[in-house]
Amino acid sequence: MINDKNSQKIVDIIQNWSRKHSIWVLAYGTGCGAIEIPPTMTSRYDAERLGVRGAATPRQADVLLITGYLTTKTLKRVIRVYEQMQDPKYVIGFGSCTINGGMYYDSYNTIKVLDKYLPVDVYINGCMPRPEAVLAGFGKLQQLIAEGKANGATKYKENLEWYRGNQKKIIPNWVMPEYNW
C-alpha cells in the first residue's frame, strides 16, 4: 500500500507537514548572529509558537543555523556537526557574512560563501538580521519543506565529492571520520 504512488504522496504530505511545524534548531551559536536568537526564542517574538525549539545535540536537530561568519576553525566543527545530524536536515545561513563575506570580505580567517561548503536551504540577510527577519526565514523554510523543495541534504549527498573538495581546500588537517551516507 505504501508503494502505491498516491498513498505515498499522502504520506509525504503528512510527513512534510509535521516536519514543517516542528523545527528543532541545533544549539550552536557559530557567530555574532547568535545574539538575536535569544530574543527570537523568548517572549516577544516567541518562535516556539511556530514549533521552533532548541535541540541540544546534532542527533536530535533538524536545522543547523549558521549564525554569521564562519572562521575556518569553526567550519570544521560545523561540517562535523552537520554530518552527524539525521536526515532530513536543513541549513539556514544567517546574516550577510554567510552570503558573501559581509564586512569580512578580506579577512584571512573567514569563509566568504557558505554554500560552497554546506548546502544552504535558506539565507536570511542583514547585519544583523532582526528577529522578524529570522522568523520570516523560518517561514520560508517551512514553505520550502511543505513543498518538498528543502532538499539540501540530498544535494550534499549527491555532490559530496565537490563539497568535500572545497572543504578540504581550506581545512588542511582533515582528521574527521568519513561521512558515508
Partner: protein, 303 residues
C-alpha cells in the same frame, strides 16, 4: 478464551489513550509554561507534531545492539506500568490485564526500562550519557526512599499490596487516602517531584550541563520511541497517584481532571526553580520527604 482477547484489545486501547493523554499533557505543560513566561507558546498539540516529525525522520544511527533496543526496554516499563495500574475502576475495557496491581511489582518494573535505557546510553560511548545515567540512578536512590515509605505506610495500614484493593478501600470508606493518610500523601508528592524530572530535578538530561545526557545520541525513531514511552509513563504515574491517593476515577473525565491536577504540581514547581546539583537533590529527598515518610510510617503503625 474470548475474554482474554477482549482484555488484550482493551489493554491496547488503554495504551493508546495513555499515549494521547500523555502527549497532550506535555503539550499543555509547554503551553502553560509559555504563558507563565509571558509568551504565546506552541499549540497544545505541538508534541504530536514533534512525535510525528521524529517518526518521519528517514535516517538513524546507533552505536550497537544495546542502544538499538534501549528504547524498547523503556517501552516495556511504560506499557507494563499502564497495564498494572488500574485506569478506571469497574470498567471492562480499562481493566487492562492488570496483574492485580501489585505495588512492589510496579516499583520494580518501573526500574526495568531506565536500566535498559541506561545500558543503551552506555553503549554510545558518549561520556555525557554515562554521566547522565549515574546522575539519574543516584537521584532514583534519593526519591525512591520517601516514595517507598509512603507506599509501605499505605500497605501496612490497609493490609494489602494491591492497588485495586486500595481503591476499593477508599470507595468503601468514602474518603480519599490523601486525607486519611495525609503524611504518606505528602511524602509521595514530594517524591513525585523527582519522579517527573521537571526542574529542579531535571539533572539527568540537563542541557546546559550534559547536552541532554542519556538521550544525546538518540535521534529519529529512537527518540520517537522514547518520547512516546515517556508520555505513556507519565500517564501511568499520574494514574497511579490518582488511584492511590485520590480515590481512583470512575469515568474518563474524572480521571483527566484528577491526573491533570496532580500533573500541575511538578510542572508549576518546575517553572520557577533552578536545577539542583545531584547530591543536593538526593539530600533534599532525604530531608523533608523522608521526615514525612517517617511520620507516615508512624501514623500507619499507630492507627
Amino acid at each position: 478464551m474470548e475474554s482474554i482477547w477482549y482484555k488484550i484489545l482493551g489493554a491496547i486501547i488503554t495504551v493508546i489513550v495513555a499515549f494521547i493523554v500523555g502527549l497532550t499533557y506535555m503539550g499543555l505543560s509547554r503551553k502553560i509554561t509559555a504563558r507563565i513566561q509571558n509568551r504565546k507558546g506552541p499549540p497544545f498539540y505541538q508534541n504530536f507534531i514533534d512525535a510525528l516529525k521524529l517518526a518521519s525522520k528517514t535516517s538513524a544511527i546507533h552505536h550497537g545492539f544495546m542502544q538499538h533496543i534501549g528504547p524498547a526496554f523503556m517501552m516495556i516499563t511504560s506499557i507494563m506500568s499502564v497495564l498494572v495500574v488500574p485506569v478506571l475502576t469497574g470498567d471492562q475495557w480499562f481493566s487492562n490485564l492488570n496483574f492485580k496491581g501489585d505495588l512492589i511489582f510496579l516499583l520494580y518494573i518501573m526500574v526495568f526500562g531506565p536500566l535498559g535505557m541506561a545500558l543503551g546510553a552506555g553503549q554510545t560511548g558518549n561520556p555525557n550519557s554515562a554521566i547522565g545515567v549515574t546522575r539519574g540512578l543516584s537521584q532514583m536512590v534519593g526519591f525512591e526512599i520517601p516514595w517507598v515509605m509512603a507506599l509501605v505506610a499505605l500497605m501496612m495500614q490497609y493490609k494489602t499490596a494491591s492497588i485495586v484493593d486500595l481503591i476499593n478501600i477508599q470507595q468503601e470508606q468514602g474518603v480519599w487516602l490523601m486525607f486519611s493518610s495525609p503524611f504518606a500523601f505528602i511524602a509521595a508528592v514530594l517524591a513525585m517531584l523527582g519522579m517527573f524530572r521537571y526542574s529542579p530535578f531535571d539533572i539527568v538530561g540537563a542541557p546546559t550541563e550534559l547536552a541532554s545526557g542519556p538521550v544525546s545520541e538518540n535521534g529519529g525513531k529512537y527518540l520517537f520511541t522514547l518520547m512516546s514511552s515517556n508520555s505513556i509513563f507519565a500517564f501511568a504515574k499520574l494514574t497511579l497517584y490518582v488511584d492511590l491517593f485520590l480515590g481512583g476515577a470512575s469515568n474518563i473525565v474524572e480521571l483527566l481532571i484528577k491526573t491533570f491536577a496532580i500533573y500541575l504540581i511538578p510542572m508549576l514547581y518546575g517553572t520557577v526553580s533552578p536545577r539542583y546539583r545531584t547530591e543536593q537533590a538526593i539530600k533534599y529527598f532525604w530531608g523533608w520527604p523522608l521526615f514525612f515518610g517517617f511520620l507516615a510510617l508512624l501514623y500507619a503503625a499507630i492507627f
